[in-house]
């Protein structure tokens, strides 16, 4: 049995960094109390140990995962790293340790204590990504399409392929305000980049017209005799509404979209 010292691992927040923590955990035969990224808001009284990110170590761990427990397990771990699961790093470590122990069957052990939380968190991530494929609303600014989202999980990597396949000839941007990252696409290249202080410009006349047309459509399509707001809410949780043209966006428009900062909105700069 590995021992469980009272200390935290501190890593640089990258996936490679986390893989190095896995390496460390095996090298010392120990399981830390927690694994924390640099900007962690979590207060801890335990001492921390800095785990440096060594590309060679990261590569060794990365290679071992599909070898020992299959490609599916690696996919699951990569997705788990994008989730908003509390202590996701520690959960990933425990999942991998269990995986090295039992091999490819890890992905079938849905009821296992080490697997269940990871599976569940990934389910939440993929579900949120699926919902957003529908709920994202672009606005056209000239020949650029731009959208804002505020998801709980870091879904941009899961949205990339979908929107690139859908709009191969468009230039578009999806701004994740919660994680301050954006997916940028120009035919035919995509990138996910950090954004700070990015705000959307005001919509022009044509854009406002299409928004208004869409609202007209949305308000007309309801069958009055079947009004059922509860059902709507369960399919479309309220926290997505703020970014949707037909529900809530109008009220916030002046507040959210008022002052377009000059430096903010330039695709060229970001690239």
């Amino acid at each position: 049995m590995p021992h469980r010292p009272n200390l935290n691992y501190l890593y640089d927040g990258s996936f490679e960094g986390l893989l190095c923590c896995v390496f460390e955990s095996y090298q010392r035969d120990e399981i830390p109390a927690d694994i924390l990224p640099p900007d962690s808001s979590q207060l801890s009284f335990l001492p921390g140990r800095e785990i440096g990110t060594d590309p060679e170590r990261a590569r060794r761990v990365l290679r071992s995962i599909p070898e020992k427990m299959g490609q599916d397990a690696l996919g699951l771990v990569k997705y788990a790293f994008l989730t908003c699961l509390a202590q996701k790093e520690l959960h990933i470590l425990l999942f991998l340790r269990r995986g090295y122990q039992c091999g490819p069957s890890i992905c079938r052990r849905l009821t296992d204590d080490a697997v269940y939380p990871v599976q569940k968190a990934v389910q939440h991530l993929t579900r949120e990504a699926h919902l957003l494929k529908g709920f994202i609303r672009f606005s056209a600014y000239g020949n650029l399409l731009a959208a804002e989202i505020g998801p709980e999980n870091f879904v941009l990597p899961l949205l990339t392929e979908h929107f690139c396949r859908r709009f191969p000839e468009e230039r578009f941007l999806i701004h994740d305000t919660a994680h301050e990252m954006a997916l940028l696409y120009c035919p035919h290249k995509a990138a996910i980049l950090g954004t700070e202080g990015l705000t959307m410009p005001l919509p022009d006349r044509e854009e406002q017209d299409f928004r208004e047309l869409w609202r007209t459509y949305y308000n007309t399509i309801e069958v009055p005799g079947r009004h059922n707001p509860k059902c709507r809410m369960s399919h479309m949780p309220k926290r997505y509404w703020a970014y949707m043209t037909e529900l809530g966006r109008e009220e916030k428009e002046t507040g959210r979209l008022s002052a377009p900062t000059s430096a903010a909105f330039s695709l060229e700069e970001k690239r």
Binding site: R108, R109, G134, F135, T216
Partner: protein
């Protein structure tokens, strides 16, 4: 008339078409084009009635030469009429699509001048989208009964899904309420589309570049509650449609009185939403749970139990088949347990290859124990502390709304409150059966 007003009128006229799904086909934008489709379908928003909005669902025109009694667009109805030009509608679709408001277009139409002309206009919209805008997004097109088969064929080559509404579940109802339509004019194109889809699958094997005909299949819709047809008749018809016409979906639409007519329910009659809900539940059982219509209803029981869902109702009437041992039962058997769905059953199969399942594990697999607890064992054991009392069983097997309905109806019939006490002894199958079926 401006675009806003047109959109309002033609949406308003189209909203009673239920289908708004975008599932059944996987596509990627063609080079230089726009649009893709996901086989699982994507909902883009939900209207305030809780229904998914995935497509821009409009009529090309709400002018109609027919006079179907149940329909808002009937000739004799005094309502504003509008027509989209094909280009106008194509442009609107693309602009909505670019903004990710929609997954594609659902195009239907009133019969303008004659069926052929209407069909030609619809083809023009689809052609503009597909050829000029190089649009690969989802298109659902309604076949117009009575149109030339060659036009239906052309429409199907441009659309992803085709549908023809049966509207009324029986010949008699159709004769009374839709005198301009005949059963023949509905089923002939339906058969044609089925045959074309089948031919197309062999064509595609032979020539990779063969044009695809309605790759997402065909669907239909019928109105529930406008005519005296029973649930059993409707479900039998549905089953027949799946078997005979290989339909992808049959949709039901609870009738909302729009017109006053001596043959129709009076205005102000509430739409039979619960009945519609039960039909959808049963429809799911037919398509994914390997049930047949005859198992759910029969000549003696032509109406669904309003208090419990059809699957639970079936289980309660077949208590001799339960409890089921989750560590051994076949997939088909697991599917029949209330509280276990398709995903749950598949997960059980996967997980039990690795380790024996207990009740905590079942919960983690997404099984609704509240319901399933009465019908399963884990390693031969019942859920610990499971007490079967009338009250708890009713609470577990009914939703809050159903329970309210049930208690309301009991008050109505002044059935005396019955107390059934099992004490601490383990309940037997008979107890459970008595306690559930006896009361329901």
């Amino acid at each position: 008339m401006d675009l806003f007003e047109k959109l309002r009128i033609l949406t308003d006229a189209a909203k009673f078409d239920v289908a708004c799904t975008s599932s059944g086909v996987e596509k990627t934008a063609a080079p230089g084009g726009i649009g893709s489709a996901a086989s699982c379908g994507i909902c883009h928003t939900f209207a305030a009635d809780g229904r998914c909005v995935s497509l821009l669902k409009v009529l090309l025109t709400n002018s109609c030469v027919y006079d179907c009694k149940y329909c808002v667009n009937r000739r004799s109805n005094d309502t504003p009429r509008a027509v989209f030009t094909p280009r106008e509608l194509a442009e609107l679709t693309i602009q909505f699509y670019r903004r990710n408001y929609i997954e594609g277009l659902f195009l239907s139409s009133g019969v303008y001048r004659n069926p052929d002309y209407t069909c030609e206009q619809m083809i023009e919209v689809l052609r503009t989208l597909r050829e000029e805008y190089r649009f690969s997004g989802y298109i659902h097109a309604k076949a117009i009964p009575g149109a030339d088969p060659r036009l239906i064929d052309r429409l199907g080559c441009l659309a992803d899904r085709m549908s023809i509404n049966i509207e009324l579940p029986s010949r008699e109802s159709l004769r009374l309420l839709a005198p301009d339509k005949s059963r023949q004019s509905i089923f002939a194109p339906m058969g044609q589309i089925r045959d074309r889809i089948q031919d197309n699958s062999t064509e595609l094997v032979r020539y990779r570049g063969a044009p695809r005909f309605a790759p997402a299949g065909q669907s239909t819709q019928m109105i529930v509650g406008a005519t005296p047809d029973t649930d059993y008749q409707i479900l039998k018809l549905t089953e027949g449609l799946y078997r005979k016409y290989s339909l992808k979906r049959v949709f039901f639409s609870a009738y909302i009185p729009m017109a006053s007519h001596e043959l129709l329910p009076a205005a102000g009659t509430k739409p039979p939403l619960l009945r519609e809900h039960r039909l959808y539940q049963a429809d799911w059982l037919l398509r994914y749970y390997q049930f047949s219509a005859g198992e759910l209803l029969d000549e003696e029981h032509q109406t669904f139990n309003p208090f419990v869902d059809p699957k639970c109702n079936w289980a309660l009437n077949h208590m001799e088949l339960f409890p089921v041992e989750v560590n051994r039962a076949a997939y088909e058997t697991l599917l029949r347990v209330p509280g276990i769905g398709v995903t749950g059953a598949k997960r059980i199969l996967r997980a039990r290859r690795q380790s024996r399942l207990d009740f905590v594990g079942l919960k983690r697999l997404g099984v609704v124990l509240k319901r399933a607890q009465y019908f399963v064992t884990c390693d031969g054991k019942r859920l610990e502390g499971l007490k079967i009392t009338q009250d708890s069983a009713l609470r577990a097997l009914m939703s809050d709304r159903e329970l309210e309905l049930y208690q309301g109806s009991r008050r109505l019939f002044q059935a005396p409150e019955q107390l059934s006490l099992f004490g601490d002894r383990n309940p037997t199958q008979e107890d459970l059966q008595k306690c559930l079926t006896g009361q329901i």
